[in-house]
């Protein structure tokens, strides 16, 4: 054992102290380190470990849509400080993000772009939908231009209701998401979402034929059948 090599003058030296050696700063001596004692090893399943890591360090996407984004910023900012929960300062590029918070009303013109942003995020990715608009269209549900919920476009893991939800509610939603990730749970997709598809692949009907002059065959389009919205 290493305790043999300690100078004989110092008695009652713990194994841990001996390992640390002399001159080491005790700030490295965390409670966790103390708890482990002389055997600093954990046995766990790799999947479980990865899930725990994923949930504990989430990169959010900097993504603002409407009113809720103001409360989302307030959640990131000093008073509520989402960073305390390991879900920190937002990243501007979807390529670097794990979690997308959808904060606001999604309208027909924006849904294809949001889908594109979501597609650009690397797997595994998670979605928190914030506010009533992303659940059902909220106060704007009757609008001619409003997509009735984020789930019509992308799969959603956690819904945070409210108009807008308070920052505390969003923190709770994110914490719940972390819990689910740590437990390896995933959400079933409950709605068949609107897809981006090539214009040429759409079923030929009156509308498609009418637009045939304006849209190229290989343009990506999203078709809204408002009547079939859930």
């Amino acid at each position: 054992m290493s305790s043999d090599q300690t100078p004989p003058a110092v008695k009652d030296v713990s194994t841990q102290e001996a390992r640390m050696g002399e001159g080491a700063d005790d700030r490295f001596n965390s409670t966790l380190r103390e708890a482990f004692g002389s055997t600093p090893f954990i046995l766990t399943k790799f999947d479980q470990f990865m899930n725990w890591v994923r949930g504990s360090s989430m990169f959010m996407l900097q993504f603002g849509i409407a009113c809720c984004s103001i409360e989302m910023i307030a959640t990131y900012a000093i008073k509520h400080d989402l960073d305390r929960f390991g879900a920190g300062i937002p990243r501007a590029s979807p390529r670097q993000a794990d979690v997308i918070i959808v904060p606001g009303t999604i309208v027909s013109k924006f849904a294809p772009r949001m889908k594109r942003v979501y597609d650009q995020m690397p797997e595994p990715k998670f979605v928190v939908s914030m506010g009533s608009c992303t659940i059902s269209g909220g106060p704007f549900q009757e609008g001619y231009n409003v997509v009735k919920g984020a789930e019509e476009v992308i799969p959603v893991d956690i819904h945070v209701p409210g108009c807008p939800p308070r920052p505390e509610a969003l923190v709770y939603g994110v914490a719940k998401l972390q819990e689910r990730i740590a437990n390896g749970e995933s959400s079933p997709v409950t709605v068949k979402p609107y897809e981006l598809e090539q214009f040429g692949d759409l079923d030929q009907d009156e509308l498609v034929q009418h637009l045939a002059d304006e849209i190229d065959e290989d343009d990506l389009v999203m078709r809204y059948d408002w009547d079939n919205s859930p």
């Binding site: 900097q62 993504f63 603002g64 849509i65 409407a66 009113c67 984004s69 103001i70 409360e71 910023i73 307030a74 900012a77 000093i78 008073k79 300062i89 501007a92 979807p94 606001g104 009303t105 309208v107 027909s108 013109k109 924006f110 849904a111 294809p112 772009r113 949001m114 594109r116 942003v117 608009c133 106060p139 704007f140 009757e142 609008g143 001619y144 231009n145 409003v146 108009c163 807008p164 308070r166 981006l196 214009f199 759409l202 509308l207 498609v208 009418h210 637009l211 304006e214 849209i215 190229d216 343009d219 990506l220 389009v221 999203m222 078709r223 809204y224 059948d225 408002w226 009547d227």
Partner: protein, 558 residues
């Protein structure tokens, strides 16, 4: 007193007690077919093919230099466009130009050659109502996608028909999408709709020549959530009031609510008790401070990319305002506090605590502002970025209908709180802030100085409320449960919101819901000036200009 303006040379139709519409009608002569009487002004009915003549006569000879809004609507027997004209020197002098056009082929002459601002307003009218404007520079859809079918606010629109929306507007700059054929060095770059610097979901299409902007076009409509339709579907008394909070959602809720309250109260002849007016004035100015704080923080974020210091400081201080507003209204963001005829409830008990909290905030404010001046306006890098960039001349600002801090940063002395008084503003002592730099720096400075003025107003309101006799605290007028204004009553009324002139046009048809509800959003007009400011500038300066405009996409797109 500071609230007085220098007198202007008299123009046609100006008399001591308001506008003399007969003189104006005489000026226009045979152009005027008929005269209507709206609540705010008289309306002159003119022929659809004489719009340009009429507007330019009124602009050059009668001094109507502000085309506040263009409202379009469909009646059972005709389409109609209304140009709401007023004067920057005295916005109480108003005139509506009413242009009917036939039902089967609705078109009339465009006003965009006279007022630059009419460009976007007419595009919106074309998009939502379906009126064609002849001689318009670029008549395309503006809020809805280009492949949209039908005009949603027209009478025969079928809301459940399927729609197809393309993704092609976001062209790839690497695929040789060089726009200008005569200059192959230019490159096309998309900024947004998902971009950290666009303050939401704005899409800016730019053509770059090197690092300079050769051409720029804001593409809006990514947050067009049918606010006008929602308001037309709601009853006056209660169902409309929650929506204004969601137009300009940067905690400017009460300012927006006031816009609706003012229009509807004037439409239905409701007198608001004085006590309620003081509370309104105080809470509206608290909202203005919160909104300007956020504008300041995000502007620093745009210019420095500083997420840590200034942005967080601004949010820290905004949080204090939000706490006060939460005590007052029960909500952090969507206050829904005003009611037609007053406010929802009185100040929270114990009142002393509320006053103390508000006073504490006001006492701290000067130090905080000093800190901001140290960090922002006193910063050399900031000055280099902002002084003399994004220049908007007063002339252009007026022509584009810019209002609020954007206009006041260009030296246009226009503030509806003073010029078209409402609430309790004309009883209080405060100043309208203007700067003459016309650049990004001036616009930021105007906002920072306006925070000081708002604090002055709040202070006086708190004093008033504290001394208000207890048995005279009337918070709401007696308003009928169901409001049914007389049929065909029309009104355009505006208030000074955080971003500028927020106007509401309402036409009633005798039912308890408005037949037409049109929102004149200050951000919509202000954003139009972006190409003017950034043509030929570097792309980072364009980002700074965009930040200094302080747009909220919820209000631009409605």
């Amino acid at each position: 007193m500071s609230l007085e303006k220098p007198s202007t040379p008299t123009e046609i139709g100006v008399t001591e007690d308001g506008l003399d519409y007969d003189a104006l009608a005489e000026l226009l002569g045979g152009h005027v077919l008929d005269r209507e009487s709206h609540v705010n002004a008289e309306g002159f009915v003119v022929r659809p093919d004489e719009v340009q003549d009429v507007l330019s006569t009124l602009k050059t000879e009668a001094g109507f230099d502000h085309c506040a809004c263009v409202t379009a609507q469909e009646y059972d027997d005709r389409y109609e466009s209304i140009y709401h004209l007023r004067k920057f020197d005295d916005p109480t002098q108003e005139l509506s130009i009413v242009v009917p056009s036939p039902k089967d082929d609705p078109h009339n002459q465009s006003g965009a050659r006279v007022y630059d601002t009419a460009d976007w307003h007419e595009r919106e009218a074309y998009d939502l109502i379906g009126i064609d404007y002849d001689d318009h520079p670029d008549l395309r859809r503006i809020l809805l996608p280009e492949t949209w079918q039908g005009h949603p606010l027209s009478q025969d629109y079928n809301q459940s028909q399927p729609q197809i929306v393309t993704l092609r507007e976001n062209a790839n700059p690497l695929q040789g999408d060089r726009r200008s054929e005569d200059d192959p060095d230019t490159m096309f770059v998309n900024i947004g709709p998902h971009h950290p610097a666009t303050h939401g979901v704005l899409h800016v299409q730019t053509v770059l020549d090197g690092e300079q902007i050769a051409d720029i076009e804001p593409d809006i409509g990514y947050l067009h959530r049918c606010e006008e339709q929602m308001c037309q579907d709601g009853t006056y008394r209660h169902q409309i009031m929650p929506y204004p909070d969601r137009w300009d959602y940067v905690s400017a809720g009460i300012l927006n609510e006031w816009a609706y309250a003012r229009a509807a109260e004037d439409l239905a002849d409701i007198e608001v008790p004085e006590y309620a007016q003081v509370i309104r004035t105080m809470s509206a100015e608290l909202c203005r401070i919160a909104a300007h704080m956020l504008a300041l923080g995000t502007f620093a974020l745009d210019v420095f990319g500083d997420f840590t210091a200034i942005f967080q400081y601004a949010f820290r201080d905004r949080e204090v305002v939000q706490n006060i507003l939460e005590d007052l209204t029960g909500q952090r963001l969507m206050f829904n506090y005003l009611r037609l005829g007053g406010v929802a409830w009185d100040l929270p008990e114990p009142r002393e605590e509320f006053f103390e909290k508000t006073r504490d905030f006001l006492d701290d404010l000067p130090y905080k502002l000093e800190e901001y001046h140290d960090l922002i306006t006193g910063n050399e890098i900031f000055q280099m970025r902002c002084v003399d960039t994004g220049v908007l001349s007063a002339e252009k600002a007026k022509s584009y209908g810019a209002t609020g801090p954007v206009a006041r940063g260009s030296g246009v002395d226009y503030d509806l709180r003073r010029d078209d008084p409402y609430g309790y503003y004309d009883e209080l002592d405060w100043n309208v802030v203007t700067e003459t730099g016309c650049d990004n720096f001036s616009r930021v400075l105007v906002r920072m100085r306006e925070v000081e003025e708002s604090a002055r107003i709040i202070e006086q309101c708190v004093d008033l409320l504290e001394q208000w006799p207890e048995d005279d605290r009337e918070i709401q007028a007696n308003v009928p449960r169901t409001l049914r204004p007389d049929p065909d009553k029309e009104i355009y009324r505006a208030v000074e919101a955080a971003k500028g002139e927020l106007g509401i046009y309402i036409r009633s048809d005798g039912t308890d819901k408005p037949a037409r509800f049109k929102i004149r959003s200050p951000c919509f007009s202000n954003l139009q000036t972006l190409p003017e400011m950034s043509q030929g500038e570097y792309i980072p300066d364009m980002i700074a200009s965009l930040g200094s405009l302080d747009i909220v996409l919820g209000e631009v797109d409605r």
